[in-house]
Symmetry: C2
Subunit: 406 residues, 2 copies
C-alpha cells in the first residue's frame, strides 16, 4: 500500500492590533478582532510533513523539533486533526476513488528554523503548518479562510498564519465560531517594502503565559471592556485603510498605540501582568524619538514598535528607512550574537548619519546599554502564506518516522 | 508698627485613588475624584512661616528651602495669595479694628524636612503649608475644606494635605471649581494602625513631569475616559467604606488596582509614559506574593503598594504586619542609606520568619537586587492635618528674611 505525504512551510505572524482575551476558551473565540503582518518564510518558518498510510501502526504520532509529543485526547492537536479528517471524509464520500485516508493513522513531523529563545510565537506558525500540511495531504478543497477555522482552534493566532501579507482575524459573532476566521487584507506584493526587525531582549524572569494572562485580564480588567467595545473596532478599520493606502505613518501610529494599550490592559489586570522591561522601554524611547525628529522635519514616521507577551520588540519600518533603524538599535544596544544582516544594512553607506536631524540621544541612558541587553537581531520582511514544498524536503522516512531519528 | 506672623507645618499625602487629568488646567479641576492617606508630620513635613508688616518694602517675597523664588504675576502662588487676601479683606470689612493686613506685603519662608530625592510630591505639603500659614496669619474663619479650594489652585493634590487621616478630593461639577474640594473621610485616630513604608527607587532617567504627563493622557488615551466615568466613582465609594470599616484587605486591593490602572492609562498615552522601572515591578511582585501567600492561609492581605509619577513605591500595611514588610524589602532590596527604623521594626523578634508560609522567593530575581536599587526606606504612618506651631519655630527674622540667611 502506498504512503501519502505532503510537506509545507508556514510563516510567523506578528500582530499590529493585538489579540488578548477569549470569549470562548474551548473554541478559542476572541473578545476582539486582530490584525497581523505575516513575516517572510525565507527567514522564519515552521516546516511540517504529514504522511498517512494504511500500513502504519494504529494511532497518530507527532514530533516537534525531533521530539515526540503526545497527542492528548480532546487536546488542541487532536481537535484539529479530527476536523481535518471530517473534511477528508466529505471528499471520500463525494469521490469513491479517493483513498480512505480519513481512516488511516497520521505521522507528522514539524521543525521550526528559529530557536524558542527568539521569543516568537512558534505555536502560530507550527499549528498553521500542521493544518496546511494535512489539508494538502488530504487534498481538501477548503479555502485558507476555512482552514483558518481549524488552525484557530489549535492556537488562536495560528489562524492568521494561513495567509501572507496583511491578515485580519475577524472575531465573528456566532457561538459556534464559524465566522471567527482569518481574511487577507492585502497580500505581501501589495506593500513589499514593509520590513521587520526583531530585537530579542533578555529577561531574567519568565513572564505570565499568554493563555493564562489573557483570561486574567478578561476576568479583572475594567479597561479591557472599553478596549474591546470602543477602541479595537475603529482601529481595525483604520489600519486596514492605512495598509491599502500604503500609509506608513498611520500604520505605525496605530501599531504603537495598540501595543501600548495591550500592555496597559495587562497592567490593569489583578495581579498586574508586566511583559515589558527596562530594555523594552528604552527601545520604545528610541523609536519614539526617531519618529518625533522625523515628523519635526515634515517627514513621515521612521518605524513602529510592537511587543507581544514578552520583552522582545518587533520594529516595522519601510525598507528605505530600515538601515537607520538597524544602525540606531545596533549603536545603543550592542548584541552578543552577530547580526546576519541579510539585507546588507550595516554596509549601507547611509548609516547612522541618516538619522533624522535633531535626534536627541539623551533618550537613551547615559553610557548606553550593556552588551547583550538586546541579545540578537533578526531582519526580515512581509512574506507570503504557507508554501507546499517539494517531496525532497520531507521530514519523514517512508516508514513515517523523522529522518533525524531514523 | 508690629509684625504679625504665623508658623505652621503641613503633611505629605499619598493617593490611593489617583488624580490624573485636569478638566480645567487653570483652575486645576480634576477629571476624577481622588483619595489619599495623610502621612505623619513627625517624619515628613513642610514648615512655613508667613509674616506681614506695614513696614515691609512693597511686594511679596518667598523663600523655599532658603532660596528665594520669584512670585510670578498670574502664577500659582500669586493666585493663592490673592485669594487669601480677598478673604482677609472680608474679615477687615466686618471688623474695623482688624489690621489692614490684606494691603501689606507678605514674607513667606518654607522648608521641607525631606530631600527632593525622596521623590515625594513636595508641592502638596508645601502649598498646603503656605495656604494654612497665611490663613492663620490672617485669622481667616474659613474651614479646611474652604482653604482646600485655594490650595487646589496652587497644586492640585495640595488640597488633600489640609486634612489629616483619610481624605477625599471631590472632583465637583461646577465650572468655577467651587465644589472641587477636600473632605475628610476619617481622621488619623480612626485607624492609627495604618503605617506606610516609602521605598526610594533609583532611576537613571527623569520621567515625564506629572503636569505635562496627565494632559497628554487626557488628550490621547481612550482608556482614561472609561476610567474617569466608569471606574473611579465606584472605587471612591468602595474605598471610603473600607476605610470606615477598617477593612485592610479591601483597602489594599483597591489601592493596588488603582495604582496599576493609573500606570496603565499612562502607558495608553501617545507617546507612552512609563514611571515604573524593573525595580518597581520587582517590589510589586514581592507585595503580590506576600498577599497571595497570606490569603492562601485564610488571612488578610499584608500590604498594598502604590506608585505616583515615578518609580518610588509607597507600601501601606497595618502596624502589626509592617515588620514583615520591612524585613522582606530589606532582604531583597539592600539599601545604600541606613534605615532609621523609627518604629524598631528590625529589632522586632518576629522578623523575616513571620512571612506567610508558602511565600515563594522565586518571585524575586535570582541573587536579589544590587545594593542601592532601593536607596533608602522611610517608615511613617497616617497622621494629622496642618499644625500651628509655636512662635519659636518661626523661620523668619523680625525683618522678614529667613533666619538661615540672616
Amino acid at each position: 500500500m502506498p504512503t501519502y505525504e505532503a510537506t509545507v512551510s508556514a510563516p510567523v505572524n506578528i500582530a499590529c492590533i493585538k489579540y488578548w482575551g477569549k470569549r470562548n476558551t474551548s473554541l478559542i473565540l476572541p473578545t476582539n478582532s486582530s490584525l497581523s503582518v505575516t513575516l517572510s518564510q525565507d527567514h522564519l518558518r515552521s516546516t511540517t510533513t504529514s504522511s498517512t498510510s494504511q500500513e502504519y501502526a494504529p494511532g497518530d504520532r507527532l514530533w516537534l523539533n525531533g521530539r515526540e509529543e503526545e497527542i492528548v485526547t480532546g487536546g488542541r492537536t487532536q481537535v484539529c486533526l479530527a476536523a481535518l479528517r471530517q473534511w477528508r471524509k466529505e471528499v471520500e464520500e463525494k469521490d469513491s476513488a479517493a483513498p480512505k485516508m480519513s481512516e488511516w493513522p497520521l505521522r507528522i513531523a514539524s521543525y521550526n528554523n528559529f530557536p524558542t529563545a527568539a521569543g516568537l510565537a512558534s505555536s502560530a506558525s507550527g499549528l498553521a503548518a500542521l493544518v496546511y500540511s494535512v489539508s494538502q495531504l488530504y487534498a481538501l478543497p477548503q479555502t485558507p479562510s476555512q482552514l483558518s477555522l481549524i488552525a484557530r482552534q489549535g492556537s488562536g493566532s495560528a489562524c492568521r498564519s494561513l495567509f501572507g501579507g496583511f491578515v485580519a482575524w475577524e472575531m465573528g459573532t456566532r457561538d459556534d465560531g464559524s465566522d471567527s476566521l482569518a481574511v487577507q487584507v492585502a497580500d505581501h506584493g501589495h506593500w513589499p517594502e514593509m520590513h521587520a526587525l526583531i530585537c530579542v531582549v533578555s529577561d531574567a524572569k519568565k513572564g505570565t503565559s499568554s493563555t493564562s494572562g489573557m483570561q486574567k485580564t478578561v476576568a479583572t480588567s475594567s479597561l479591557l471592556q472599553h478596549r474591546i467595545h470602543h477602541v479595537v473596532p475603529a482601529r481595525m478599520e483604520e489600519i486596514s485603510r492605512a495598509i491599502l493606502a500604503r500609509d506608513f505613518t498611520t500604520f505605525a501610529s496605530l501599531t504603537m498605540q495598540d501595543s501600548n494599550q495591550f500592555h496597559a490592559v495587562c497592567m490593569d489586570t489583578s495581579p498586574p501582568i508586566f511583559y515589558l522591561n527596562d530594555v523594552s522601554r528604552a527601545i520604545i524611547a528610541v523609536v519614539e524619538e526617531l519618529n518625533r525628529a522625523s515628523l519635526a522635519q515634515g517627514k513621515g514616521m521612521v518605524a513602529a514598535y510592537t511587543f507581544d507577551a514578552g520583552p522582545n520588540a518587533v520594529l516595522y519600518a519601510l525598507e528605505e528607512n530600515m538601515h537607520v533603524v538597524v544602525h540606531t538599535i545596533n549603536q545603543f544596544f550592542p548584541q552578543t550574537q552577530d547580526f546576519p544582516d541579510p539585507f546588507g544594512m550595516l554596509a549601507s553607506p547611509a548609516g547612522a548619519g541618516a538619522r533624522p536631524e535633531g535626534f536627541n540621544t539623551s533618550v537613551v541612558r547615559e553610557g548606553g546599554w550593556e552588551k547583550g541587553a538586546v541579545s540578537r537581531l533578526i531582519h526580515t520582511r512581509v512574506g507570503d502564506g504557507p508554501r507546499r514544498l517539494a517531496d525532497e524536503e520531507s521530514l519523514l522516512t517512508r516508514e513515517g518516522v523523522p529522518k533525524t531519528l531514523a
